[in-house]
Each structure stands twice: as C-alpha cells, then as structure tokens.
Amino acid sequence: MSGYFTDLWGGAVSLLEGMWVTLKEFPKRPVTVGYPHEHLKMYRRFRGHVELIGGEDGSPNCIVCSMCERACPSNCISMTGEKPEGSKKKVLTSYILDFTTCSLCGSCVESCNFNALKFSNEYNLASTRREDFIIDLLERLAEQNKASGGGDD
C-alpha cells in the first residue's frame, strides 16, 4: 500500500521536473537559422563539389595528368586535353564533373599533385533537373575569372 502512494508522489514529482525543464526553454531565443533568409558562413575546409584553380593569368593549373580521374571511386570526372603546336605542356580542353554520382570523398583533390583542384564552398545544390549537376568546371573557372576581373585566389 505504501508503494501505491510513493509511486504516485514520485511520479508526480518527476513529471513536474520535466515540465520545469521545458518551461525554462520556452522564453529562450530559438536556435534555428531561418535558412533562406539567413545564411551561415561555410568553414574553410568545407567540402563542396570540386572546382579548378586558376593560375596568375586565369588559365587552369591542370596539366591533364588524369590522376583525379583515376582516383575517383565513382568515375564522375571526365577530362580531355590536347597538346597545342609548339607547346610542351598539355592544355585542358574540357573538365566535366558528373555531380550526380559524386560522393564528395575528395580523393580527386588529394590525388592532385599540381594544385589544380580544390573544394568549392557551394552548398546550395538543389535542382529539379538532372543536367544541372553535370558541371563544366572549365566554364565555371572562366566565369569566376570574369566575376573577379582576372585570376585571384
């Protein structure tokens, strides 16, 4: 019989304790970031999809060694390059990232020995069209160069 009442009392106290916890939270400021209106600053190391690094003149550092292409576990990088007349180095002619299969592992960036690839800070990656995720990185680099008025970074 004593168990009956201690149960009742202990139970009621535990319930009131819980209610006190939630009540204390009530007047506090919400911690939510109202996403489309507010944005957070991305961390320096944030891994978005990869992008090419341009040199002084804005042309890509890439020398078309295909290391990244081979390192990629999901084969989402395809690149072509050609050797122009009278030049020793190969020049990148296209660099296509198929982001639909990319798992953002970063193997490509790590495998690059020529400082030609980096992670972008792009996190707004939503679209209703599949084609939006076939990203032409060379074009992207050109746009970045245009936006900043020449090569920076």
Binding site: T22, F46, S103
Partner: protein, 374 residues
C-alpha cells in the same frame, strides 16, 4: 515466460500487421511482418534488404583507398568509427604504423561522433515513445558536434577523415577550443536530459521490465554494444580487444544487468558521459607530431591472407574480415555490422509483447538500417 507461449493460436484468430517498410517507428526502410493477436504480437518476422547496396562487392571492384568513402555510407550516424575499423584492418594487413598524434585525434573524433550518434538515438527513441521535444534538444546539441567535425573534416555526416596510417588533415586551435566548450555544455545538457527524460515516470513505466534480452540470447545471436551491455555483459571492444590509444585512457564501460529496455537506455546515457571523459583526457594530453606516417606504401597492396579488425561503434562490435590475394583490390571484404545481429534477436524477443512495447524495444536496439542492409 510470457503468456503467448502458453496459448496455441489458430491462424484465423490472428491477423498480420505489416510494420514498415514505411512506418514512423522503423527509422528507415525496415519491415517487420507481425502476426498479431489483438495488440499482442504472436510472431514476428523481420524483412531486410530494402536498401541493400552490396558494399561488399564494391570492395572487390575498387582500390583500397577508393573504398574508404563507402564506410561512411554504411552507418551515417557513426561514420567515423566505421572508417576507423576499415583503416585498422588495412593498416594491420600492410603493417603501417600510425603516429601517436594521429591516433589521439582519431579517438577524439570517434568519441565525438559516438556522442552525436547516441544523441540521435536518444531523440529518436523518445520520439518512438511519443515525446517529441527531446529530439529537438538532441539535435541542437548534435549540431555543435557536427559543426566541430565539419570545421576539420569538411563534411557533416560522411566524414571520410581517416587515411591509411594517418588522417586527412590536422586539427586546429578553434576546433580544440570549440570541443572544450562543447564538453562543458554537454555535461549540463546531460543533467537536463536526466530530468526531462531519464526520471520521467511514464518513460520508466514503459521501459522497465519490457524488452527482456538475457545473456544466453545475446550469445546465441551475437548481440554486442549497448544491447549486450544492457544485459549485464561487460563487453566493449575498446576494453576487451584494445586498439588505438584506448588502453592509455581512463574510462569505464557502463554495464547494467537490468536486461530490459531501460537498462539499455541507461547504458547509452552513461556512455555519453564516458565519451566526454575520454575527450577531456585527450584534449589534456594531445601530443605534438606528424599526423601521417613517414613511410607509407604508395599503392596499398596487402600481402595475401586473412585479416580481421574490430572496433566499437556506437551500436556495437563492427568487424571487418579482409581476404587479400595481394592485388590492388580486396579479394573479399566481409563487413560484420553490429545492428544486423542486434536486430536479429528482435523476432524472438518481441513475442508476446504489446505492439507499443515492441516498438519501444525496437527503438532501444538503436537501428541504423543502411548498416544492417549494407
């Protein structure tokens, strides 16, 4: 002995209830075919494989380094520990030495990840029981961990932070400062959870004495992790089969011999405290030095043979068996995931339970479906 064993029911006295593949309590695509007698479960059969991706075959088609990101996709909640297990087995096979600093940072991130995993479990578990608010608090706290880990690994869930023999990159001062602040905050938050959830009479009534798993059942099914520890089995790979720098750290393995859902609940809550202790110690004695080994084979090619490594993830013993034929790809890679064995005993244990208790019991097993289906 529950009452169901005593009654022999005719098929026309029962009905089949399909819990899942899309059901709020299964946390993913798991299906349990329950034969019910009213609200009592007469028999249950778990159906898996809805997100089976054949990770083991992928291992045979990729190089060792390329396979690393797959590990995070197995268990998205404690990806760090799974990466650790894979790194361990390959390091063991190739004889790669890991520098001390890297080992400490590994344990630090794994333990942070363990807390974040347990926080998701706590929230989801109480959500299973019908309490919504703790989920939000848990995700708020987890956010701190994700931010911390994002600041050093660059990603929030599938970190892929470990490399064979070392790490992807070193931790920095803001991260250490942030972790210190987080540990302080987390102790306070755990006290709050104790008041809001642990002591709650409704929760206790629902968990105490329900979902009994005895030691024999654990042995027969190979249950590990908090499920086994909640049944009074003092088994934790971190202590039983020490790896990395765990032997140098001072922490306890919480064991509770209640055998019920509440015991498993208490074990996990205490594990968060122990993880915080580990983190504090590591922050105090983090050695300086390189994070990658001086000599490391350029192409990973383990000598032919069998290798095994096990780690303690948030859900239990994760083992990897690697069969190498000396090539660039694994000849065979077996992933022994903890939830697979833990969930297996559900069919037997839930017989005779009410459906509400059975789903609470399922929540106390801490399921992560991708890890089960692999």
């Amino acid at each position: 002995m529950n009452q169901m064993d005593l009654i022999e029911l005719q098929p026309d006295e029962t009905f089949v209830l399909n819990v899942g593949p899309q059901h709020p309590a299964t946390h993913g695509v798991l299906r349990v075919k329950m034969t019910m007698d009213g609200e009592y479960i007469y028999d249950a059969e778990t159906v898996l494989g809805y997100i089976h991706r054949m990770h083991e075959k992928m291992a045979e088609n990729r190089t060792y380094a390329q396979y690393m990101p797959n590990m995070g996709r197995l268990d998205y909640l404690s990806a760090m520990a799974f990466n650790h297990g894979y790194a361990l087995v390959v390091e063991r096979a190739c004889g790669i030495e890991v520098p001390e600093r890297a080992e400490y940072i590994r344990v630090l991130t794994v333990e942070l990840n363990r807390i974040s995993s347990h926080l998701v479990w706590l929230g989801a578990f109480v959500l299973d029981l019908g309490g919504f608010t703790p989920l939000m608090y848990c995700f708020d706290d987890r956010e701190y961990i994700l931010d911390l880990l994002e600041s050093i690994t660059g990603s929030r869930l599938t970190y892929c932070y470990f490399r064979f023999g070392g790490l992807y990159n070193d931790i920095d001062e803001p991260f250490i400062e942030g972790t210190r602040r987080f540990v302080k905050r987390m102790y306070k938050e755990l006290k709050m959870y104790a008041k809001l959830v642990t002591g709650n009479i409704i929760l206790m009534k629902r968990l105490r004495g329900h979902g009994i798993i005895d030691q024999n059942m654990c042995q027969r099914y190979g249950a590990t992790g908090p499920v086994a520890r909640g049944s009074g089995i003092n088994y934790d790979v971190r202590r039983n089969e020490p790896y990395s720098v765990y032997p140098e750290l001072d922490f306890d393995i919480p064991v509770d011999d209640g055998c019920d859902s509440y015991a498993r609940y208490l074990v996990r809550m205490e594990e968060m405290v122990q993880s915080l202790r580990i983190i504090e110690q590591i922050l105090a004695k983090l050695p300086e030095g390189p994070i990658n080994p001086a000599k490391k084979p350029k192409i990973i090619k383990p000598p032919p043979g069998d290798y095994y490594a096990a780690v303690e993830t948030a859900r239990g013993n994760f083992g990897i068996r690697l069969v190498s034929d000396g090539g660039k790809n694994a000849y065979r890679l077996k992933l022994r995931s903890p939830t697979y064995s833990n969930m297996h005993l559900f069919d037997e244990a839930c017989r005779g339970m009410l459906i509400a208790d059975a789903l609470a019991f399922m929540g106390s097993l801490d399921l992560v479906i991708p890890e089960m289906d692999r």
